[in-house]
């Protein structure tokens, strides 16, 4: 197995905000897949753990012209200038060369939360408590993901264990490359309206690459130059605008805390 000669992938997603109804299926599927525990009674939206969080936005107009939209925010999987990687004193974060996925290794993390400060998307979460499941519910944990402990940071990794499973399947069939249909993160699989499209941005023929080209696609806080691999799209101008305005609106930003 020589990964050096392997094709470099850049996994990414395009989230169609015109199809997101804000149901929350992605958030639940993600928590089930990644062994994220239910909140303790004290946890709030500041201290909870939701690798993908769906935020509600509105057009700012008064009743009855007010309109809302929902924006799922997983780790935006930044490209070259990844803020979290550059600040980690522990080398617990890196960009995985083969997949482009920003890797967070909780066992290596020492819990300084510098990366959380650095992340402009508030997509990183800190374990304020040890994970506790109601008695018996720990039997429902996913064996492909290890539970974390108190004091470490975690975040979305595009369900990397599913990429591993796809690689194993490819290897069993003697293939070097995975079948793209074998690798879908849990949120993509769960989305009932098919709002999330996932694939390899490096492959110009992939559906994601096409969607990025087809107009009305944008990324969050593009001016920061973080080059995220999570794209959004909407045919509605006000939805596109609000997602871009986030950086200039301190109040809105405050709402998007982690």
């Amino acid at each position: 197995m020589d990964t050096k000669n392997k094709k470099q992938h850049r996994y990414g997603m395009v989230i169609d905000l015109d199809k997101c109804t804000g149901c929350g299926a992605c958030m639940v599927a993600c928590a089930v897949e990644n062994n994220i525990p239910p909140a303790t009674a004290k946890a709030t939206d500041r201290t909870g753990i939701t690798w993908v969080r769906v935020y509600k936005f509105d057009n700012g107009l008064p009743f009855p012209n007010n309109r809302s939209a929902y924006i799922p925010m997983p780790c935006q999987q930044c490209g070259e200038h990844t803020p979290c990687v550059s600040v980690c004193p522990q080398k617990a974060v890196e960009v995985d060369a083969a997949s482009g996925i920003v890797a967070q290794i909780p066992v290596r993390c020492l819990g300084c939360r510098y990366c959380m400060t650095a992340c402009p998307y508030h997509a990183r979460y800190f374990n304020w408590w040890d994970p506790v499941w109601p008695a018996g519910m720990e039997k429902t944990l996913n064996p492909d993901v290890s539970p974390r402990m108190r004091g470490v940071v975690e975040k979305c990794n595009f369900c990397h264990e599913r990429l591993q499973a796809a690689r194993a399947k490819a290897a069993a069939e003697g293939r070097d490359e995975i079948d793209p249909s074998d690798y879908q993160p849990a949120c993509v699989e769960a989305c009932p309206t098919g709002a999330i499209t996932f694939g390899d941005l490096a492959d110009p023929n992939s559906e994601v690459a096409q969607l990025v080209q087809n107009g009305h696609a944008f990324r969050m806080l593009e001016t920061l130059g973080t080059e995220p691999k999570v794209y959004y799209r909407s045919d509605q101008a006000w939805v596109r605008q609000i997602a871009q305005q986030e950086v200039q609106k301190p109040k809105a930003k405050e709402k998007v805390h982690g």
Partner: protein
């Protein structure tokens, strides 16, 4: 030789130096690091063979297919089943966490009795025999022929095999009444059927072929009907020709998810749906946009000589008049009516919000009337007939026990109330049931698996197995255009203290000394279900979907009833063939209730019209709302904290929203606390300012409390529904309220 202190130090020094030449420090440093990565109290996942099983979700009547990923036999993840004919590959957030429910901390694991201890309500263990004896004694005291002393079983998922068992049991006891609640998505259909002169049989919405939906507050995109079906339509929207896309107009006071997503949101005054519907009818008739031929031939009360005809009713509701009540401009009412007529086939759906509660019968009559005016019944893209799931009961037995909706049960008439555990997805306030119970000495028994919701008010609890713990059948969802039938399998063993409702009814019948006629269909619940599957097999109709390979085959290709049973118990689904178009009977546009004309006239004025001065006095109108997954009386996965507590995506009980201007005018603060006070009491809530809220309205969430995720909700937690005013027609949609800090 004398050993000096100096020697000792030298020896220790040597050992210390020597230690660095041994693995001790290096290995211990390494081990200590590893030790700190593997705390013993961090749970470890089970490891073992990964298996895939299939089943059907029973958490609401939709009956979605679920693919179950298991480690060994332990379910660890649920996902949708691709190509499933009912759920079309999706599961809702509640369904995705269904495999956690057996471990919910609020479970009841043995029979319990409600007791008062030091002024507090507690649930103490009790023997099953004691509960049965108490019930048998109460049954023996029922005097036959006194309908205001009834025994009721409340079944929120009718059509199941256990539903039949309940009905047959009720036939054996005096004054038995079988009661259902309006299912989400079915309200308008039920009223429509009542408007027919002769029974028309079950009907469903042909959503796939319709071009427009006018919805009166139905949460179309947030768990309505069969959620996967609606979601598939949304999925397909983008690829469709814009001219042929499904158009959705949402008529709702609140900016719900559906309202936000709809092509148009008609923000209507609270409780004025009937006025808007009658206003639309006025325009349709006035501009000759209605199905004149159908109305002429079939409508019995369109025109009448006594001045109490539909036409007379609608005449009053000119766009201007309806606008004055509903707050929607006359032009918009006219435009909406024209859009409805232009976009035929169009469907008009009522129902309302799952937390806000159903619309009243008169409102639904006005809405169903629009469907009749548009001529959408029995046409592709409209409301079409389906057949019943083949059943022994429908073929060989005519029920003698009345079936009625809870709102139609006479007040103060229920002596014994048995609550089945199944969920409808709609909220049901305890006040509504309390109004139906006899004032003194009513006996309430709950078969719920959880100490929550209505069960908190029950005298006894005989907990049933929960989802995935017992075999159950799932009949066709209420909105479907074809009948269907699937099974939910027992993938886990139920705990020792729980009782299958079938077994319990059987025991109760024997203790009460009444015949248990259902024994003929099988002595165990599984035998009963097998019997039903055989009935379906013998009918030789329709097709069978098998979850394993995603293929659908005609039932003729299934070799035996056993083979059908096997396919169904492995998550398969039987789907009926399309029913033939039935000739439509004559119908009444005003409904069949006594004084229907007057009642509709009153309903048209809006719910708050009777004492308009009071609105000003109270200041606010309280409107509860909720999400189908969490408004019912069951439990949801503890992981739902992600949606309710760890993000603001859905609202917890006690969270409210007001318009910022109203809020400021009343001295409220964004994020602050306030008291809501109604005629029923007061509750402390958290107030959020939201520009989407109608001025003078306070929207209050019907949902779980933070405690509901980790404990049994036996007391304390107040429900906003306890504050709501219950109208004469058993709706609780609008309540006058004071909001103070």
């Amino acid at each position: 030789m004398k050993i000096s202190r100096r020697d000792l130090f030298k020896f220790v020094g040597g050992s210390a130096v020597g230690a660095f030449l041994t693995p001790i420090p290096w290995k211990l440093i390494d081990d200590a690091a590893i030790w700190s990565q593997n705390w013993s109290w961090i749970p470890r996942p089970l490891h073992g063979e990964i298996r895939t099983k299939f089943t059907t979700c029973t958490l609401c009547p939709a009956g979605c297919g679920a693919r179950v990923r298991c480690v060994g036999d332990q379910p660890v993840m649920l996902t949708g089943v691709t190509r499933h004919p009912v759920s079309r590959g999706t599961l809702c957030p509640a369904g995705l966490g269904g495999h956690h429910l057996p471990y919910h901390p609020g479970r009841a694991l043995q029979p319990l009795q409600r007791v008062q201890k030091n002024g507090k309500i507690e649930f103490a263990p009790v023997s099953r025999e004691a509960v049965e004896a108490a019930l048998a004694a109460a049954i023996s005291r029922l005097k036959p022929g006194t309908p205001n002393e009834s025994i009721v079983i409340l079944d929120q998922q009718p059509g199941r095999t256990i539903s039949r068992v309940y009905r047959r049991f009720l036939e054996s006891v005096p004054n038995g009444v079988y009661v259902t609640t309006s299912a989400l998505g079915g309200d308008t259909l039920c009223v429509l059927q009542e408007m027919m002169e002769k029974p028309y049989g079950p009907v469903g919405y042909d959503l796939e072929n319709t071009r427009m939906i006018l919805s009166f507050g139905a949460p179309l995109l947030d768990g309505w009907g069969t959620p996967g079906r609606m979601m598939e339509i949304i999925k397909a929207q983008g690829s469709k020709d814009p001219d042929y896309r499904l158009k959705i107009i949402q008529v709702e006071t609140r900016q719900s998810r559906t309202a936000s997503f709809a092509d148009e949101w008609v923000a209507i005054n609270p409780g004025t749906e009937a006025a808007f519907a009658l206003g639309l009818a006025h325009v349709l008739i006035h501009e000759n946009l209605y199905d004149q031929d159908l109305i002429r031939r079939k409508a019995i009360d369109f025109r009448k000589k006594d001045g109490r005809a539909y036409l007379n009713l609608v005449e009053q509701f000119t766009p201007e008049y309806a606008a004055g009540i509903s707050g929607i401009a006359p032009d918009r009412i006219i435009a909406t009516a024209r859009t409805l007529a232009q976009n035929a086939p169009a469907i008009v759906i009522g129902g309302g919000d799952p937390g806000g509660g159903p619309l009243g019968k008169e409102e639904e009559t006005a809405i169903a009337g629009l469907n009749l005016l548009l001529g959408g019944i029995g046409r592709p893209g409209g409301i079409v007939a389906r057949r019943e799931v083949p059943d022994i009961m429908s073929t060989s037995h005519h029920p003698t026990v009345p079936e009625m909706e809870i709102r139609d049960v006479p007040d103060h008439s229920i002596r014994i109330l048995i609550l089945d555990a199944a969920e409808s997805g709609n909220a049901l306030p305890w006040a509504l049931l309390e109004r139906k119970l006899v004032p003194q000495g009513a006996l309430v028994v709950s078969l719920s698996s959880y100490l929550t919701g209505l069960t908190k008010h029950a005298g006894y609890i005989i907990p049933a197995p929960t989802y995935l713990e017992s075999i159950q059948d799932v009949p066709a969802p209420i909105d479907a255009t074809t009948a269907s039938f699937s099974l939910s399998s027992a993938l886990l063993t139920a705990p020792a203290g729980v009782t299958e409702p079938f077994e319990w009814v059987k025991r109760l019948a024997s203790v009460a000394g009444v015949p248990f006629v259902e024994e003929a269909q099988g002595s165990t619940y599984e035998a009963q279900l097998k019997n039903r599957v055989e009935t379906i097999y013998r009918a030789k109709r329709g097709t069978v979907f098998s979850s394993g390979d995603g293929k659908t085959v005609p039932i003729a290709e299934i070799s035996s009833a056993d083979q059908l049973w096997k396919l169904l118990s492995e998550g398969g689904c039987w789907i009926d063939s399309k029913a033939e178009t039935k000739p439509m009977p004559n119908f009444s546009l005003l409904g069949k209730t006594k004084d229907n004309f007057e009642r509709l006239q009153v309903a048209g004025q809006g719910r708050l019209s009777r004492e308009p001065g009071l609105v000003a006095a109270f200041g606010f109108i309280l409107m509860p709302f909720g999400w189908r997954g969490a408004t019912g009386n069951g439990q949801i996965s503890p992981l739902m904290t992600k949606l309710f507590q760890e993000s603001g995506l859905r609202k917890l009980s006690g969270q409210t929203a007001v318009n910022p201007e109203t809020g400021r005018a009343f001295g409220l603060t964004d994020g602050g606390q306030a008291w809501i006070e109604t005629e029923k009491g007061a509750m402390k809530v958290e107030v959020r300012f939201d520009a989407a809220v109608m001025p003078r309205v306070i929207e209050a969430a019907v949902g779980p409390s933070v405690e509901a995720f980790s404990t049994a909700e036996t007391q304390g937690t107040q429900n906003i529904l306890d504050l709501c005013h219950l109208d004469d027609d058993c709706a609780w949609r609008v309540t006058r309220a004071r909001v103070t800090t």
